[in-house]
Every structure is written in structure tokens, then in C-alpha cells.
Symmetry: C2
Subunit: 600 residues, 2 copies
């Protein structure tokens, strides 16, 4: 990427024209002063490429969200403008995405007023999380949960488009009912829609493959080669726009000929969206729904939508920051996405987030700053003003093909094998999330997160311990000690030492224990008493400073510690009246050294 | 204790007269064959002592539970009989306790039918937990939470008796309202009740102090000394019965004289409780409450009561097992308490658990087997059959004195100082539990458990890391790595290594990491890529076998590991074109040894 160094220099923490704090909040101040003509040219190309991708996708995703098509476009420009000022990644583009559209369809009863209010409330929640620095909450959603969710979403979204691809009518939206009804009415397939949809899919696939296999351009190439290269690049990058325009043209031609084999998108409300505060109540034909009722109707959506929005956006930003070697500011990203949703709701946007596909288009087009978003945003506004009459000719099956090709890569087939090899237990949260997401997304994510946490807690509650037999027992917990582990530890210590005849002394090697809580200290104190009553000893080795400090502060009766295992063994041997027993050859090794031997 | 060896031998895992599995389920089969005349004598004395304690306490605790006094006695005998067959501790006595009575008063609207149904359902839940081996759930309630709960309960119960101590009428039961109304109507104090209550408290305190300071009896003592010793022992052990009988006598004398300065307990329904299935619906004056409604009314009580019952019972059993050097079977204890509550509900018992105070009386009386409970149970049944007319003369303030003296030791004043010294963070769950328990017990326990868990998760999410500067950076996480820690780890590694100019290679010392999950593996893989892109290296040292296996299975690009820190440093130095830098003197130490140096 030619601009990496310049972007990095511009975003480096040494301010040139403004105090650091202001530049942190408004990253545009960092790069705008260094803006150059070359950056402008690159940003223009990238902005156009993204614009040509987002317009057809926005129309299609609005369908996924269960909203009129124009709402996709309403949602596609605010993110570009807000991110221009607040973004800390040059690649990210915010806008409607397949997954957020699916979530919106779950939580908003296909009523635009709900979707806009959800965007407003999600934005407020995201802003609050940004201001309260609660971004760390996202750390508790583990990778298998995210993979399970995105894979289930890909299946749900993809399958949800089969009815449009085949031109089927009156199919319910609930996943299982949908599967059932599609198979039931497969005979009603409209040939025109099905053929067009499949052709579009094949075209999109071919163009994508072409893009992936085009050799990079060289400055030494002859002009003709570079021109044809540019043509291929444009066609493959704007493939969504190309395929959709082509199918709209075909549909228009049929319409002119007086017959229409395709199901069309139909009339789209044109013009810019009105600027107004989000609807805090909604009046339908026969009744008014209050704000409280709307919030209750959206329910868990108010947690799932903001969290998933942040997760998706951050994941995209991190992936491209890592790929292109720059750093993002997590908290600033939270604020950017929160403000996009809040302000977006003023122009009838539904919740948006970072789009992986369009961010990739942006990066591959060589974007240099978030200014590329300005071009994209203006393009969307222009299309809303002038192109909506043409959009009505877009066949639904062409949009379905766009969606299916966009979500197909989200289904990660290799993850099951990878987890089987790397960490089998992680298949549990993955499986729980994947399966339950077909029932209700929030239950899937919640169940997955809970299973992840339970696995984590289980490892904290049942730490592995290694025991070495001998005249003196040596026991070493393999990891830290926390309160849920106390009972298991007491059991692990008492069984070989106190529940035998005669009872035996024990050395507890604590080199892997970096801190203890009061419950653990109390448990160790009771163990010391138990040992004392049986006339044997429990001594400690390899205590780190905070642990030693806590044990000394608790003033445990009979507490003894040694810095090395050898010292402790020598002491206990003399106590037993035995000769010191030579266990390992190099007797001046550190306690951890012997601890390593234990593991072998 | 003279009988320790005998009990231990009887309960030892080598069966003499029955298969091990049967003896595990029916521990009575283990000790009954060895039962001796000496055991019988000791058990008789202990059973009588406990009986004389439980009868006045049962009457008093029923008041705490908001039930008619006879329900305390109904609850006091089933535990003795069940524990005789199922108990694995010779000291524990099950029955009504102050804390369970308080919980019952919260969740049962002071209606016996609710209390009995709660006993039945709690018993079923406890039995289920026993059969499903869910006892480990109790490990997640940390010591500060238990201390906070018992201290708050002591204050609530103790303060709840002030109104009876002063003879005040019409005081609400809610804690804060109670405090307010008691101060409001302090002028209405009945002198007779107040004087009697204070006298009883002083008497109980004196008798308790006498008991604690009586020198142990010697067989060489003259008969007179032994007799007076026995007298003091009896008086101090049965001090509750003594004080209550004494005040009832005083009240009876006043009654005969035609004036009554005390508020009396009043008529108590006599006779044994009817044997019948628990009430699954209840009909009040004007309506019938269905089972579903009753369950909804009890709400969180269905979780709090069984869990707290198990916790209290197990805590008592463990404390005395440790004190008297024998082992209990946690799961068997779960079954015993569960069956006690289930069967108890057939004889109108409310939920019971192990009583700390009476178990202490039992142990100090030299009980040898759970057969002591048989005596206690029979004593309670006899008192129900023949003594209830006399109980009506017991002044309420005398019972209040019994309760206050019983719960006073539950308030642990030293715990705050201890936690301040040992682990300040643990003051958080303690404080949260203590304060919220005054509002609603379930919120207090839930909040405390959550705070404990959050502290645990925080330590898992933000592991400490130690960094050593030098030509090659060395970083060592102080504890295990789990998925919530990935972001923090990436930050901790990238900041000193990659966000500097020029970027630097790093050695990651993983000797304290005992396992990794997929999210961690993925994060490490991304770090490896980041290092690779910057042209530097990240190498691993001290990987334990499961961690190494997971990293190898994930097939990470550029993964390199060394068995010692020295090897890794030598390799990276050669890579940098520098001479190896001698860090520690004994260069053949294990990696953990150098890790120790890092910590210093």
C-alpha cells in the first residue's frame, strides 16, 4: 500500500497543529493538514468503487431487514460523513450490512419507525459504552461465539433470499417455516426469476474469481495492457453495480416489450430522506404504540444490535489495521459508530456497522484517508435524488444473487475442523451459538457467551494439580488459585496427605499462583490446621510477593514458607528424622526448576 | 474427643458387614454394628442437651419465620430421624435455624401452607442437586459473600427481636420500616417485657461465659467436685431451656396472682402434627391460591432457600469434621438435607438446615454417633404431646433474648479488618452482599456472587505481564491465558515491540500458561503475522505440552519455540546480527528460572 507510511506519520501521536487530546477526539485534524493531491486521486477512485458497491447492496439489504428499499440508501451515507471526522482507520466504511439487516428484521416487526428508533437507541447505547470505556465487555464474546453467530447468520440470510431468487410468494420469514414453505411451493418457481438469479450468481462468481486472479499492474506495462487492466479492475470491483444494472436493463427491455418475466423491486420513494427526530411513538391504522411499548417490543434487540454492531465494526477495523499496519483507537471507533447511528436516525437510517466486504473494496482500491467516504456518501445522495425511478426496474432475484454472494464467505466451513484439532471444548460454544441462533439470535449469542464463560470458570474452579510422591509429598497447582477452586484444592491436598495412615507432610509449590483471594487464604488456613491436628506439616514454596503478603497478613497459624523446594525438603526430612533425600541432580536450581521436573 | 478413633474406624472405607455402595448411601450401616453401651450413654447425654436447646429455640425461630410457635417444633424432629440414617457427620443436627427462619419469613407471606410447600420444593431441589452432583455450584459462593449474608442476617434477626424484647406492638416486619417504627414508639415500651428480656440476656451471657471458662473435668477429682462440675455443665449447656423455663415460671406466678406484666406466647396448638401431603394450593377466607400462584409468590425463594440451606448445612458439617478429624461426604449430606426437607413437609415442617449452635452443643456433649438425634427427636415429640399448655406461659421477651444471644456471634466484626489486610478487593463482594441483603436477601447474595465472579473474570481478562527490556524484549504473563485476555495481551505485546521505531523482536515466556483456547491461539497467530509484517520475530519459550500441542495443531505461520530463554535469546541475537548477551550467570537453568529473575 503506497500510503501506509504517510497515514502512519499523520496519525502518529506527535501533534503538529493541534493539542493531542483534540486530535484524539477528531482524528481528521491529524491527517487533513497533510492532505495531498495524490491522496485525493486515490480517495476519489476508492470512494467511487465503494459507492458502486453500496448502492445495490443497500437496496438488497433493506429487503433483508424487511424495510422498503429506500431505507437501505438512507442508511448508507451518514456513516461516511461521520467516519470522515471521527474514524481512526482509513479503510473502514460504515453502512448497512447483511448481519445488521438480519438483526433489524428480527427486532423491528418490519416497521420503519421501529428500525429508526432502534438505530437511535443503539447509537446512544454505543456512545454511552464509548464514554464509559465499556469496550472491554466485547472481550467476553469469544471467537467461537462470533464464528457460530456469523455462520448461522450467513445460512439464515442466504436461505432467506432463496424465495426471491425463485420468485416465490407468501413465504414466512421465520427460518424453519421458511425452509418448510419453500420446499412446499418449489413447484411455483417463476422461471424468469430463477434463470436471472442463477445467471447473476454465476456472473458475480466469475467476476470475483477474475478479481482474485488478476495479476497486479506494473508501471512498465504498455498503455494498452494498463488500460485493459484498468477496465477489468473497474468491472470486477463494481461487479454488484454492473450485474444489477445489467439485469435492470433486461427487465426494462422486457417491460417495454409488454411482458415481464421477473419480479421487480417496484416503485421506490425518491428524494432525500426528511431530516427529523426519530419517532418516539408510532401510529398505525387503528392504534398508537407508545415509546415504552416500542422499547418492550424491541426487547433484547436493544442489547444485541448495539453489541453486534460494535463487534462487527471493531473486527473489521482491527482486521484491516493489522493487514495494513496501522493502529486504531478502540474507544474512538465506539464513538464513531455510536454517533453514526444516533445521527443516522435523524435521516431515517436503520442501525449500521462496519462492512467487511466494502471495507475490502476500499482497501483494495488504495484509499488513503477516510475522505474516500465523502465521495461514497455524495454518490448515495445523488442516487437517492435522481436514480430511484430506475431502481424500480431492478429484479428482486438479481438483488438476491448479490446478497447470497456477499454472505457466502461468512459461512466458515473450516472452523469445525480447526477447532477439533486445536481445542475441542471450544466446539461447545460454537455449536450452542450456531444452533440456537436459528431459533433466536439473542439466545444463541447469550448461550454461546455463557458456555464460554462456564468453560473459563470451570478451569478456574478445577485447576490441574501435579503431585509427586516420595517421603514428602509435593503438590503444584498448574495455574492460579481462585475462590471456586478452594474445595477442589483441599480435596487434592487432603486425599494423599491426610486420608492415609500415617498422615504425611506436604510441600505446596505455588510458583504458578500470582494472587489469592480471601476464600483461598481461609482454605489454606484450615488446611494448615488440619495438618497441625494430624501432627504433620504443610509448607509453602515459591510464593510470589503478593501471595506471600496476603498469607502473612492473614496471620495463619503454623505458616511456613521456603524459597526453594530443596530447603523445604531438607527441613521436612529433618522434621521426620530422615536423611535428606536427593531428588534432582542440580540441587541449587530454583524452585520452579524442580517444578518443571514435576511436570515432566 | 474420646470417640474419634472409633467413629473414624467405623466410617473407614473398608466395609465389614455390607457392600461399600450401600454403606455409602446408608452410613448408619457402617456404625450401627459397632454400637456400644459407652456410645449409648454419651449419645443419650448429647441428645438430651441438644433437645433442651432446640425446644426453646424452635419456639423462638417460628416467631422469626412469622409462623405459629408449634411450627418450630414441627420442624425440629424430622431432621434428627433422617440424619440418623443418612448423615456422614456424627455432630451435625438438622432443624430450624435463625437464618432459614428469616428466609422463610421473606418468602412465605407468614402463611404456614407456603412455608410447608417451600420445605417440600426446597427438599426436592436439594435432592435433585444431590443426585445430579451439582454440589460444585456452592463453590461459586465465595467466603466474603457468605460472611456478608450472615452478618446482615444477624443484624436483621437481632433487630427484629427488639420489638418483642420491649413489648412493642404493631411494628412492621420490613427492616427499615421496623427501625423507624421502633424508634417512633420507643415510649410505649412495656417495663415488664424489657426488664425480663434484659435479665434473660444477662443470664444467658453469664451462663455462656461460665461454660467457656469451666476447667475440664478430671477423673481424679473428688466426687463432690465432679458432681458440682456436672451441675454447672448441665446448667450452662441447657441454658436456653433453663432461662425460658425460669421466665415461664415467673409469668405463671404473676398470672396466678392475677396480673401479667409480660407479653406471653399464648395458646399453642398441642399434639403431634398431622401426617399429610404438603398443600399444593391454599384456600384463604375469600379465595383459593393455586400452586402456580404460590410458586410465583415464593419466586427467588425457591433458589435462595435450598442453596442457603445446603451452604449452611455443609459449612457446619465441614467445620466440625475438620475440628474433630473425620471426613464427610458432601453429596451424601446434600441427600440428607434434601430428604429431611421433603419428608419434613409431610409433618408441616418449614425448611431446615444444619444448626451451628446446636451442633456445637452436640459435639461438646461428646456425641458418638448420629443416634444422639434420636433422643433429641423423641424429646421434641414428647414436648409437642405433653408440654404445649405450659409453653403458652413463655414470655415473648425471653424468647427474643434467646434469639438475640444465638445470632450475635454470626455478626463477624473482625472480617472487615481482616479483608482490609489480606485482600482489599474482597471487601467489594462483602459490602455489596451485606448492604443489599437489607433490601432483599436474594439481591444481596446475587450481587455478591456476581461481584466475586467479576473480580475472577477481571483477573482472567487482564493477566499481569512482566516485561524485561533489553536488545530483545522478554514478556511473561503472570498467569494463564483465556479468551477475554487476548486483546489486553495483544496490546501488551504490540506496544513495546511493534509501536516503536524500529520494531523489536520479542520472546514470550509461557511457563505459567497451562492451557489456551481457540481465541487465544487465533490472537497469537495474528500477533505472529503482525511481527512478520514488521520484519521482526515473536518466539515462544517454556510452552507446556497442551499449549504446544494446540499451537502446533493450529499450524500458525512463523511459529517458533525454544525450551529455554537462553536458546531463544541466542537465536534472536544471531538473527539481529548481534553477539549473544549474557543475562544470567547459570546459563543452563530451566526457562522458569530466568522467569523468576524477571519477577525480581
Amino acid at each position: 500500500m503506497p500510503s501506509v507510511k504517510a497515514w502512519d506519520r499523520a496519525m502518529a501521536p506527535r501533534a503538529r497543529c493541534s493539542p493531542v487530546a483534540v486530535r484524539r477526539c477528531l482524528p481528521i485534524l491529524a491527517w487533513l493538514p497533510s492532505y495531498s493531491a495524490r491522496w485525493l486521486r486515490m480517495d476519489l477512485i476508492a470512494g467511487l468503487s465503494v459507492g458502486l458497491t453500496v448502492i445495490p447492496q443497500a437496496l438488497a439489504y433493506a429487503e433483508v431487514a424487511g424495510l422498503p428499499p429506500q431505507y437501505g440508501l438512507y442508511s448508507a451515507f451518514m456513516g461516511c460523513f461521520v467516519y470522515l471526522f471521527l474514524g481512526t482507520s482509513r479503510d473502514v466504511t460504515l453502512g448497512p450490512t447483511a448481519i445488521m439487516s438480519l438483526l433489524v428484521s428480527f427486532y423491528t416487526v418490519h416497521e420503519p419507525a421501529y428500525a429508526v428508533l432502534l438505530a437511535f437507541l443503539s447509537g446512544c447505547i454505543q456512545l454511552a459504552m464509548g464514554f464509559l470505556r465499556l469496550g472491554f465487555l466485547l472481550d467476553f464474546i469469544s471467537c467461537p461465539v462470533i464464528k457460530g453467530f456469523t455462520s448461522a447468520a450467513a445460512v439464515t440470510i442466504g436461505f432467506g433470499q432463496v424465495k426471491n431468487l425463485l420468485g416465490l410468494q407468501n413465504i414466512p420469514r421465520q427460518f424453519f417455516l421458511q425452509v418448510y414453505h419453500i420446499f412446499l411451493s418449489i413447484g411455483d418457481t417463476r422461471v424468469g426469476d430463477a434463470v436471472l438469479g442463477l445467471v447473476c450468481m454465476v456472473l458475480l462468481l466469475l467476476l470475483k474469481l477474475m478479481r482474485d486472479h488478476t495479476p497486479p499492474v506494473h508501471p512498465e506495462m504498455p498503455l494498452g495492457a494498463r488500460l485493459s487492466h484498468g477496465l477489468v479492475w473497474t468491472a470486477t470491483t463494481a461487479r454488484n453495480a454492473l450485474v444489477v444494472s445489467f439485469s435492470a436493463l433486461v427487465a426494462y427491455a422486457f417491460e417495454e416489450m409488454g411482458s415481464q418475466p421477473f419480479t421487480l423491486t417496484g416503485a421506490i420513494a425518491g428524494g432525500l430522506p426528511p431530516m427529523r427526530i426519530p419517532p418516539f411513538s408510532v401510529t398505525t391504522a387503528n392504534r398508537t404504540v407508545s415509546f415504552t411499548q416500542m422499547v418492550q417490543d424491541m426487547g433484547a434487540g436493544l442489547a444485541v444490535v448495539p453489541l453486534m454492531g460494535l463487534l462487527e465494526s471493531l473486527a473489521v477495523a482491527k482486521a484491516f489495521a493489522s493487514q495494513n499496519n496501522y493502529r486504531i483507537d478502540t474507544n474512538q471507533e465506539l464513538l464513531a459508530i455510536g454517533l453514526t447511528n444516533t445521527l443516522g436516525s435523524l435521516v431515517s437510517s436503520y442501525p449500521v456497522t462496519g462492512s467487511f466486504g466494502r471495507t475490502a473494496v476500499n482497501a483494495q482500491s488504495g484509499v488513503c484517508t477516510p475522505a474516500g467516504g465523502l465521495v461514497t456518501g455524495v454518490l448515495v445522495l445523488l442516487s437517492l435524488s435522481y436514480l430511484t425511478p430506475l431502481f424500480s426496474f431492478i429484479p428482486k432475484s438479481a438483488l438476491a444473487a448479490v446478497i447470497i454472494m456477499a454472505v457466502a464467505p461468512l459461512f466458515d466451513t473450516k472452523i469445525f475442523g480447526t477447532l477439533w484439532r486445536v481445542k475441542r471444548l471450544d466446539l461447545l460454544p460454537l455449536g450452542a451459538t450456531f444452533l440456537l441462533c436459528f431459533w433466536e439470535v439473542q439466545y444463541g449469542i447469550l448461550a454461546g457467551a455463557l458456555v464460554s464463560l462456564l468453560l473459563l470458570l470451570h478451569s478456574a474452579a478445577r485447576p490441574e494439580t501435579q503431585v509427586r510422591e516420595g517421603p514428602v509429598l509435593v503438590l503444584q497447582p498448574a495455574s492460579g488459585l481462585h475462590f471456586p477452586a478452594v474445595e477442589a484444592l483441599r480435596e487434592a491436598i487432603a486425599r494423599p496427605a491426610l486420608e492415609v495412615c500415617p498422615p504425611r507432610s506436604m510441600i505446596l509449590v505455588c510458583s504458578h499462583v500470582c494472587s489469592v483471594d480471601y476464600t483461598v487464604v481461609l482454605g489454606l488456613g484450615q488446611l494448615l490446621e488440619d495438618f497441625h491436628k494430624r501432627g504433620v506439616r504443610l509448607v509453602f514454596v515459591g510464593l510470589r510477593v503478593p501471595v506471600l503478603r496476603a498469607l502473612l497478613a492473614a496471620d495463619l497459624k503454623g505458616f511456613q514458607c521456603f524459597s526453594t523446594l530443596e530447603e523445604a525438603e531438607k527441613y521436612l526430612m529433618q522434621d521426620l528424622g530422615l536423611e535428606p533425600y536427593d531428588i534432582c541432580e542440580d540441587s541449587d536450581a530454583a524452585p520452579e526448576h524442580t517444578a518443571t521436573l514435576l511436570q515432566a
